[in-house]
Each structure stands twice: as C-alpha cells, then as structure tokens.
Amino acid sequence: MSDFDPGRRRFLGHLGLAGLGALGASSFLSACASSASGPATGSGSGAVTIQSNLSSPQAKAAMEKLIETFNKQGKGTASLNTIASETFRTQLPTYLTSANPPDLYTWYAGSVANDYASRDLLLDVSDVWKSLGDYPQSLRTLSTDASGKQIFVPMNNYWWGFFYRKSNFAKWGVQEPKTWTEFLAVCETLKSKGVPPIGIGLGDTPWVASAWFDYLNIRINGAQFHRELLAGKQRFDDPKVKAVFTRWREALPYFDPKGKAYPFQEATTALLAGKTGMFLIGTFFADAAPKDALGDLDFFRFPIIDPAVPLAEEAPTDGFFASAKTANPTGTRALLTYLASTEAQEAYVKASSGIVLPANPKAKASDSPLVAKGKAMLDEAKELTQFFNRDSSDALQPTADTALTKFIDKPDQIDAILREWQAGAEKVFKG
C-alpha cells in the first residue's frame, strides 16, 4: 500500500488500494469529486463542504452520522466528501491553494498544520476555541500557529506502545518490562524460546521504523531536542543522535528478520498468531485485528532509558482545519464547534471501532481497560509528541525511511548513514 503517510490513523487496510492511488488513476477521480463538490459553497450561505480522509468503513459511517446530526440541528448544512487517504494526502496542497477550495478538512495537528498556516492558507478558528475553555493546554498549544492564533480543532488522539498478547506473555512467563534493561531481558527470554521477540513491518510501510527513532530520541535526548531536530535546528549527524542508534543497536538482534519484507498489517497478523512477541505500533493497527483477539491484547509503554529525561509519549492528534478562502466562515465555524462538542465526540467514538481518545476532556472514551490504560499513560506524560512526519513534514519522512531501513540492514555504517540523512534533510529544509 502506498501508505507512506505515517501519522494516519485509518488505513485502507488492503495492499492493493494504495497501489491504485500510486497509479494516479484515483487522483483523477478524486479531482473530479472535489471539483464537483467544491464550488457548491460559492454563495456564502451554502452547505459547508468537508473533505474527509477517514475512508475505513467504520470511520466513514461515523462521520456520515455526525454530519447528518449537524444538519438536523438547523445551524447550517454540511456535506461530506470522503477520499482515499493516499489521494487526500497528495491532493491536499492543491485543494488548499485552489481558487474555490472545499471549506473543511480532516488532518493532523502539529507542524504539518502549522506549515499551511504559515502560508496563510488556514482559517483562524480562535472563535471556536473560545468555547473550548476546558480543553487541556497541551492541545491548545498544539493547535496554535506561530502567530498565536488557533488554526486547528482536535477531534481525538491515540497512542503508540509495545502491544502483545496477554496469553502469550503468560505462556512464555514474561512480565511487562519497565526499563531498557528489563526490556532486553524479556527479548532474550523470548529469543531463547524460539520466538522472534520484536515484530516490525517495513515492507511497504517503512515509516513504522520512525516510531523507534522517535521514542529512543525522546527517551534519551528528550522531547525538546527531538522537536528541534525535526525542525532543522539540530543536526542528524550530532553525537546525541548517534547515541540513539547505539541504543537501538542493542535491540537489533531481537528484531523479526521477516519484518523487513512485509507491511505492518502482516506484522500485526504475525503478532496475533504468536509468531512475534511484541510490536511497537499505534492503536490503529487494531482496526485490522479480529474482534476476538482484541480482548487478549495489552501494551506497555516504551521502556525508560534515562529516568532524568522528562517522560514524553507519542500521541498523534487528528482533527480538522479549514481553508482561509472559505466562502462561508460562519457555517464552517459552526460545524467545527459542533465537531468539538462532547456530544459529537462521544458519538464518533461510539460509532468508530478504533481505540481512540476523544479530544474533549468531558467526552467519555470507550470503557475498555485498554483505552483506560492508554489514557492514563498519556495523562502521566510531561510532554506529548505527534509522530516523525507530523512533528516535521511529509517531505522529511522519506529521508528517515531511507536512513532507518538502511541502519537496520547495515548498523556498521551508522556514521555514513547519519551524514547522508543530514544532507537529505538539508535539501528538504532548503526546499
């Protein structure tokens, strides 16, 4: 699947669809779709068009339901336009820069949104935020651009962690590790029992490796350094970055060798079938898991390496931003206010099957022990990061994919790899 886009929570789930996206055939289709629906907003009071990349069946149905409810409330009308994720990603700049763009978009918080804001493409939604007084400060900061105005309205977030099957951990006689040393000990035990300890899926989805880099970096060098590095204010050939890889190398012998060849969806299957011990992945992977396996799933946080480093977790936040050129800013803000409400967020969580946490602090998440544990983990964290591409840009992601897959293959060449990475990153930052 051309799921190059790491931060995305919903996946098409099938290898083939993405390939179609890559062919470009579907971008033509979507271009037609968007041009058909875009101009509908021409008259200031027309329906608000919302472009959604939530194309998995459950998420799509959940969005449809939300829009239906909004339309019944009489505060305006909205129409939903669902587009395959990969197409959405490649088309988004085109949507935003077109003369008559759709009004509202599903997208990710963080520097990906701020980048568009810096080009004056996003609608100022500070008004909407006035009614979101009880949202945590972390989400407010995340939704604020460089000039101090809010440009993003979060819908929900999710977390990353080492997922495993409780029954298998019991069978192998291992416990959740808390520290790096304990983690390596668990790996050693699993390896001695003939199970590849760490699952990964880099074939077709090489960005999954970025979770390892992100986590090792925020555990060793802290979230602040991590963000500066991803913003181009630090260098990838810095000794501090090399320290990340020195740690990583300790765990490399425990990686499933087959993980290089298959995508994360198959790595999920391998984990559920007990062919790997654990898997560092975001909660979206459970979309592809059979229902009966969900109850047996548990996770632990990425092990602590240096207790002195403030605890940070990856919590990619999904939500909405609007085009600065919308013909109907009032209607767009009304829809955003509705989408941020307790009612809408609870309805979304209920209708979509994914393991997500609503952004609105008053909205209840689904009451599974797994979700409660995830929420507790994020609440405990001093800092939240998004994900490699969301904290930097989609353009920087391929440089990470190249460097990280090469490191996993050839850890000896780390110095050369980091030099190349720095050179590649400089090109991206230069434009």
């Binding site: 390939g19 060798p257 060849a261 897959t405 991206v428």
Partner: protein, 305 residues
C-alpha cells in the same frame, strides 16, 4: 489492383496537382488535434523545462534558480544510482524482452494444433493492470511465499532472502514481473512482423541451400526492420516510464536500491515536494528517451537513403 496501378501510372500529373492544394478537411484533421495537443501536451511539456530552472514547492510561486537543479543532480548520489539502475533496467528489461519475445514468436509462428492457446497464455499478462500484476508477484515474493516454498522444495533454502527488501535483489525481483508482462507484448509485435514476410523468400533461400540459421540471419531478421523500429521505441519508452510496477512493489526501496529515474522523479515531486528538482529529473528522462530513439531513427534513415 491492376486498375489502381494503371490509374496512378497514367495520371501522375493530375495527382500531384491535387495534393498540392490542401483540402480544408485535411487541414482541420491536422490543426484541431495539434491545437488540443498544444494545450494538453506541448505547453505542459515546455513548462516542465521552465520548472526545471526553478525552486518550487507546488504552493508558493516558483523561484528562478538558473541551473542550480542540474548542478545538484550532478552531485546527487541517489540520482546516479537511479541512472545506473535505469540503464540496467533498459539493458535487462529491454534486451531480455526482445530476445524472449522474438524467441517465442519464432516458436509460435507456425500454425499448429494448440498454438493459439500458448499465444494467448503468453499474452495474458499484458491484459492485467500492472498494479494487479504487482499484487500477484508480491504474494510470490513474500516471506514463506511461493518463491521460498519452491526453493525449499528443491533444497536451495540457503538462497532464500527477503527478495523485495534485500538491496542486492530488489531491482531484479522487480524486473522479473515487468519482463513476464513485456515478453507477451513484444511477441505479438514480432508475430505480426513474421506473418508479413513473404514465404517465397524463405522458399527461395531454401532452394539455394540455406540452412535454418542462415535463413533466420539473412532473411527473417532483415525483413523485420520495420518491426524492429517499433519494438525499439516501445522498449525504450516502456523502460524509461516503468514506474507503476516498481512503485507498487518496492517504491524504489529499500534505501533507493531499486530506484529508477521515474520513481525518483515521483518521490521528489510528490513526497519531498521539490517540483523544480523533479522537473530537472524529468528533463533528463526526456533527453535520454529522445537520444536513444533519434539515434536509431537517424541510422535507419541513413541506411534507406
């Protein structure tokens, strides 16, 4: 037939005069497509040249940077790798599909019982979309997939590797499905060419005592000159634009080891959002295709003159 010949030979003067005055219909047939092409093909192509001299992210307006992009290309190791891979691709994919297609056409040219079935079987892969082809081959290459099972069955476990994820094998593992498809296509082109050869030539050569190798070398191959030009153009163009199969199988990875100019251009343009630099790569692809095909055409014309 005889009537036509006599008319043309009797009235050459009138014919020439008629063709000198262009019919309005003919003009329309030339100019309308030309106008459409200008807007949809030539103008964007020319713009591509202009963009290759700029720095452009697709959102802000392009900034002129002169030949900076070309200077960067000269020192770009990934670009060099992609160029080498494209040459390997051109030689292996092009060469083997010509050899394979020609061989198959020779074997299957005689009308025998069941020959239609074999021709159809070889042509079937052409019918599939390359993305579907890629899906099938991905199943073939996946860990513990068909390729690995086959190797195990014949006791060659030691050769097993992650075919698409190993930088040593990725490029070749992608060429194979592309070949699987192209051979059928080239075979059909050659079959048509072989059918057009006058059997009397072979008859005459046989009378003169030429053996089958000599007939192939001195009768069949020279007679296929027209088809060769078509096949060469098709092969060169198909090689340089090969994108879908590579993108669906490896995306040019792992770490650029199966990168072609086409995939590098795509990822530079639509992932790194460096459209100026990507346009420079596109110009290089264009020049390469033009050079190979012009080179052949010039030679072909010189031989005819």
């Amino acid at each position: 037939m005889t009537a036509t010949i006599s008319t043309t030979s009797v009235t050459p003067v009138r014919r020439r005069r008629r063709s000198a005055r262009l019919s309005p219909l003919l003009v329309a047939f030339v100019l309308v497509p030309f106008a459409v092409e200008s807007v949809w093909v030539f103008w964007p192509a020319l713009q591509g040249f202009w963009f290759s001299l700029t720095r452009w992210d697709g959102m802000s307006s392009p900034a002129f940077v002169g030949t900076d992009n070309y200077v960067e290309l000269a020192g770009d190791a990934t670009f060099r790798g992609a160029l080498v891979n494209t040459v390997i691709w051109l030689v292996l994919f092009g060469g083997l599909s010509v050899l394979g297609g020609f061989g198959m056409a020779l074997v299957l040219q005689k009308e025998r019982r069941g020959v239609g079935f074999y021709r159809a079987a070889l042509f079937t892969p052409v019918v599939f979309s390359l993305v579907v082809t890629a899906l099938v081959w991905r199943v073939f290459y996946q860990p513990d997939g068909i390729a690995d099972t086959l190797l195990r069955a014949v006791g060659l476990e030691s050769l097993i590797r992650p075919w698409l994820a190993d930088p040593q094998t990725a490029l070749y593992a992608v060429i194979l499905p592309a070949l699987w498809r192209q051979i059928g296509y080239v075979m059909v082109l050659f079959l048509a060419g072989l059918k057009a050869i006058d059997p009397a030539l072979h008859e005459a050569a046989r009378m003169d005592g030429a053996n089958s190798w000599q007939r192939l070398r001195h009768v069949t191959i020279p007679q296929l000159k027209g088809v060769n030009a078509v096949v060469l153009s098709v092969i060169v163009i198909d090689s340089l634009r090969s994108f879908d199969i590579v993108w669906s199988l490896t995306k040019g990875g792992p770490y650029h080891s199966s990168e072609l100019l086409s995939t590098y251009m795509y990822s530079t343009a639509f992932q790194s959002l460096r459209l100026g630099y990507a346009s420079a790569i596109a110009v290089v692809i264009f020049v390469l295709a033009l050079a190979v095909i012009l080179g052949y055409l010039v030679r072909a014309f010189r031989e005819e003159a």
